[in-house]
Symmetry: C2
Subunit: 211 residues, 2 copies
């Protein structure tokens, strides 16, 4: 977990996010970031290729973590459950970074080029998750659909977690978003009663017994 440790990298990241927020991403220079962090430009470039990488360096680690977690989900887990379980494992890391994540998100929302980069990052992540599902024996188009649905759940959960003032944790937002995904992709609308047709098997079993 050394990549998540705050030291030179962490100080540079905090300085960069603060400056991007104050002056805008475009107007901030690497020299200013280094100065704010009390470090040199040379140190900056030992950690990041450029200004933009400060916002995206975690993508590779996140992807590795999620792909590994999908691989180790129980065999019987439905594809979306394997993806969602993987998303839940990121909770502990995210919890430490909520304020940074919040800053990052508002910087990205203010800049079209960064939004595009974020989209590409998420598409890459979806492809990696689909690959991990295929290695579990999930065929196509199932792997791709489950991965894309998982990313939709992730984005919704992440935005709500960032906006949340009550300290609800990330995995809980993930579960809620999955429940909503199941509700909106089901055939009945609005979903009737507690046991909607897209609910967990247990709910369907109950419906079967009741019928």
């Amino acid at each position: 977990m050394s990549r998540w440790e705050p030291n030179a990298r962490g100080r540079l990241e905090q300085a960069a996010l603060a400056l991007y927020g104050e002056r805008g991403f475009e107007k901030t220079t690497v020299a200013e970031i280094a100065a704010r962090a009390g470090l040199t430009e040379r140190t900056f470039f030992r950690h990041f290729a450029d200004k933009r990488e400060v916002l995206f360096w975690g993508a590779g680690a996140l992807q590795e973590l999620l792909v590994g977690a999908v691989a180790s989900a129980p065999d019987a887990a439905a594809p979306i459950e394997a993806v969602v379980a993987a998303l839940e494992t990121t909770g502990a890391i995210f919890e430490q970074r909520r304020e940074l994540a919040r800053q990052r998100q508002s910087i990205i929302a203010a800049n079209t080029e960064l939004q595009e980069r974020e989209l590409i990052k998420l598409a890459t992540l979806a492809s990696a998750l689909a690959g991990a599902l295929r290695r579990r024996g999930v065929g196509e188009p199932d792997a791709r659909l489950a991965a894309e649905a998982g990313i939709a759940v992730f984005r919704v959960a992440f935005d709500r977690w960032i906006a949340d003032a009550n300290g609800q944790d990330f995995p809980q937002f993930v579960r809620e978003a999955l429940d909503r995904l199941r509700a909106v992709t089901g055939g009945a609308w609005p979903p009737v009663g507690v046991a909607s047709p897209t609910a967990e098997p247990a709910a369907v079993t109950t419906a079967v017994r009741a019928g």
Copy 2:
């Protein structure tokens, strides 16, 4: 529907797609496209801002069509059903353009910058669909999740339709992709028997009667 009419625009589009396929997108010039179409560069620029727009000019019309169709879906339609019904309405237009769509897709697959543009186009489409769902009274995060799930269905259906040699029509691929989405986002895996827990309410009813 005048935007779909083949004339100067159609001839330029066909010439451009043929050349992008033969020489690659990067290496093709506007002068070559105009010459192949038997038209002038000036005519090209009356129809398209640049080379790239030949591949993306239809995005606005597609978005309008889908947003309009979501708006006019039956009130009782589940969010995903409204989106899927909208996707099905595009079938007739797509059917006329299958060969062009196939060419376009392989050109995009060969070029990272075009892939990124395509991702951005689809993200814009997802936002527009979420907006159309909100105007139907669907709240958040439901509108966004249904729109994202709909785009995942669209992409899978589109790729399969393009790859298909048996002439199965686009709406049928859309329905199949929706069925798979429901299967992979359900709780049971693999889905048991013919009536999976995430199937349509009718199928669940059948299972109830059988049980």
